[in-house]
Amino acid sequence: MIRTPLRPLARILSARAKGENPDAIEKENLRLRHEEMRDRSRQKAEGRLLLLGLVFLGLFGTVGVRMGVLAATQPVEPRTGQNGPLITAGRADITDREGRILATNLVTHALYAQPRLMIDPAGAAEKLALIFPDLDAEKLKKDFTGSKKFLWIKKKISPEQMQLVHEIGDPGLLFGPREMRLYPNGALAAHVLGGSAFGREGVASAEVIGTAGVEKTFDNWLRDPANGGAPLQLSIDLSVQATVEEVLDGGMRLMNAKGATAILMDVKTGEIISMASLPDFDPNTRPQPLTKGPAGDSPLFNRAVQGVYELGSTFKIFAVAQALDLGIVTPDTVVDTKTPMFWGKYKINDFHNYGAELPVTEVIVKSSNVGTAHIIGMVGPERQQTFLKSLGLFEPTPVELIEAPTGKPLVPKKWSEISMLTISYGHGLSASPLHLAAAYAAMVNGGTRVQPTVLKTNKPQQGERVISEKTSAQVRSLLRQVVVRGTASFGEVPGYAVGGKTGTADKAKPTGGYYDDKVIATFASFFPAYDPKYVLIVTLDEPVESSGSEPRRTAGWTSVPVAAEMIRRVAPLLGLRPEVEPGAEAALTTVKN
């Protein structure tokens, strides 16, 4: 590059000749040179900026395009790299405690039609009506020839039906794959499982959602692909459940009851081994809820959890256990049992007259209302309330069924002295059989509270203490004697040392007052009495045993034999071998000291 001189001689000389300042020429040239330099560097910088801008544009453009592509394309399963965790899309299975399937999925197809693609709509409609007798040919014809572009025909069809539809050969009849929920055991444990239905439906797939029971409680867990196909393991034992339902069904028919429920629960872990409520239903074809009449008459109603009843004399042991625990009475203390007992304007009656006074043991063995009322009178309403609350009889059971919160016990608003007296023998406070099972478990397992659960845990619960070990032993001995020589004498099962308490409560009329000839008969039992493992509650709704000269409705004649047969059948299945009860006299001496 030729550099322009700052002081070109020719111009300097001519300027000097004109008498001008030659420095001005130099300044002017310097200015021009600086301007030129500035322009050059500006151009360079602009070029760099442009390049940088282009590079950034390219980068962001790539990112943008990539994002667009990712958002627009269908998701594809990764084909390579198999070491990641297993992810499964299907709803998880539900199994019993031994891993036997209670609910699983089955691939099936849904049938839908696109009338526009149909060649012979009228013929297809007729042939479809032949394959599916519940479809109406005329209605289908109208749908196929009308303006509809799309319609569902059947939600689930079997492979045979699918083949028959294929044979119609109409291109407008199409199939969509479906995953359907199957309960292979039919009505078994129906109330625990609940049921399921299709949620959002598309042609390619449909989501299955739980509608009741554990299917609804654990809906999110069952649908979570991250579980890798692990099944939901319940505490229910399939064979025990089947036996319980069989015996309960037989007992319900024999005793002419309109409903029945049985709960078998582990006293230490709180696991529900079996829970049956009759009448039941098949969750594969779950019936519609009743639109009129009491909900309790629907087969969907889970009597074990939702049915709150006055459970009668089964509550007496709570009053006596509390009095024993507080040291107010001993099993030998004699209490007043003169019947009728008058309290203000109220009169409390016993079923029979048991004489003027009885020891506490006999009050339980003979089930005296008056005796129990006198015992709770020594305890007082506040302490009784606190005690029953600590047994969980004021709140719905925490069991993992969606219906559990609806089984909220009915507690009197004002805990007057008369409520105290009636509640001591099981009237005036309504609770579900599951409440009773949990409370009895706490009574006999050594005195700690257990929360019922339907999930397999295998771990004893460390609940809060409600009564002492010693009181619990006394309670076990009292309840054992009820079976040996008391109201539940039909409950004796050789080899299993059953203990328990009967309860017969008149049913409350919806209009107020009580029915004379309708009862809820309950037997709350546990076995073996010397080392309780299981609690069994059997409740019959309106039973009547009519083999005698007059109808008998007490639990001792109705629920107790059913429960005894149940224990005889179920205990071997639970792996309990019959044993000789360790010296009954020895047990009595431990109670005394």
Partner: protein, 118 residues
């Protein structure tokens, strides 16, 4: 010298190109196989779940109870009862009269003799 290097590198490039071509096709073939295998696994999973469901359905307690009742004459199956629990002490000691019930003194010979019995 220069031309030798040039020739060698040309040969090397051709060799590498051929190798890359082959690897490419092999990878694609492997991917295709993985795809078939995975769809096969999917199908097998599906049929496994169907078989499991069928197993559970065929073994449902109601059906087994019915079958046991139907075949009672041949099988004589009854529900499990408490009386069926036994004790080791209740089993009589093997007697000498029946050689099959004799106490095992020579395990190897016993196993060999059991093998020969049809």
């Amino acid at each position: 010298m220069r031309s030798i290097i040039l020739t060698l590198s040309l040969i090397a490039i051709m060799g590498l190109g051929f190798w890359a071509y082959r690897e490419n096709y092999r990878t694609q073939a492997e991917l295709a196989e993985v795809r078939t295998l995975q769809s096969e696994i999917g199908d097998l999973r599906e049929s496994l779940s169907v078989l499991n469901a069928e197993w559970a359905y065929l073994n449902r307690p109601d059906r087994l109870r019915e079958l046991a009742d139907l075949n009672f004459e041949r099988l004589g199956l009854l529900p499990l009862e408490p009386e069926q629990f036994g004790d080791v002490a209740q089993i009589t000691y093997p007697t000498a009269e029946n050689p099959l019930l004799a106490p095992v003194t020579d395990p190897i010979a016993t196993v060999a003799s059991l093998d020969q019995t049809p």
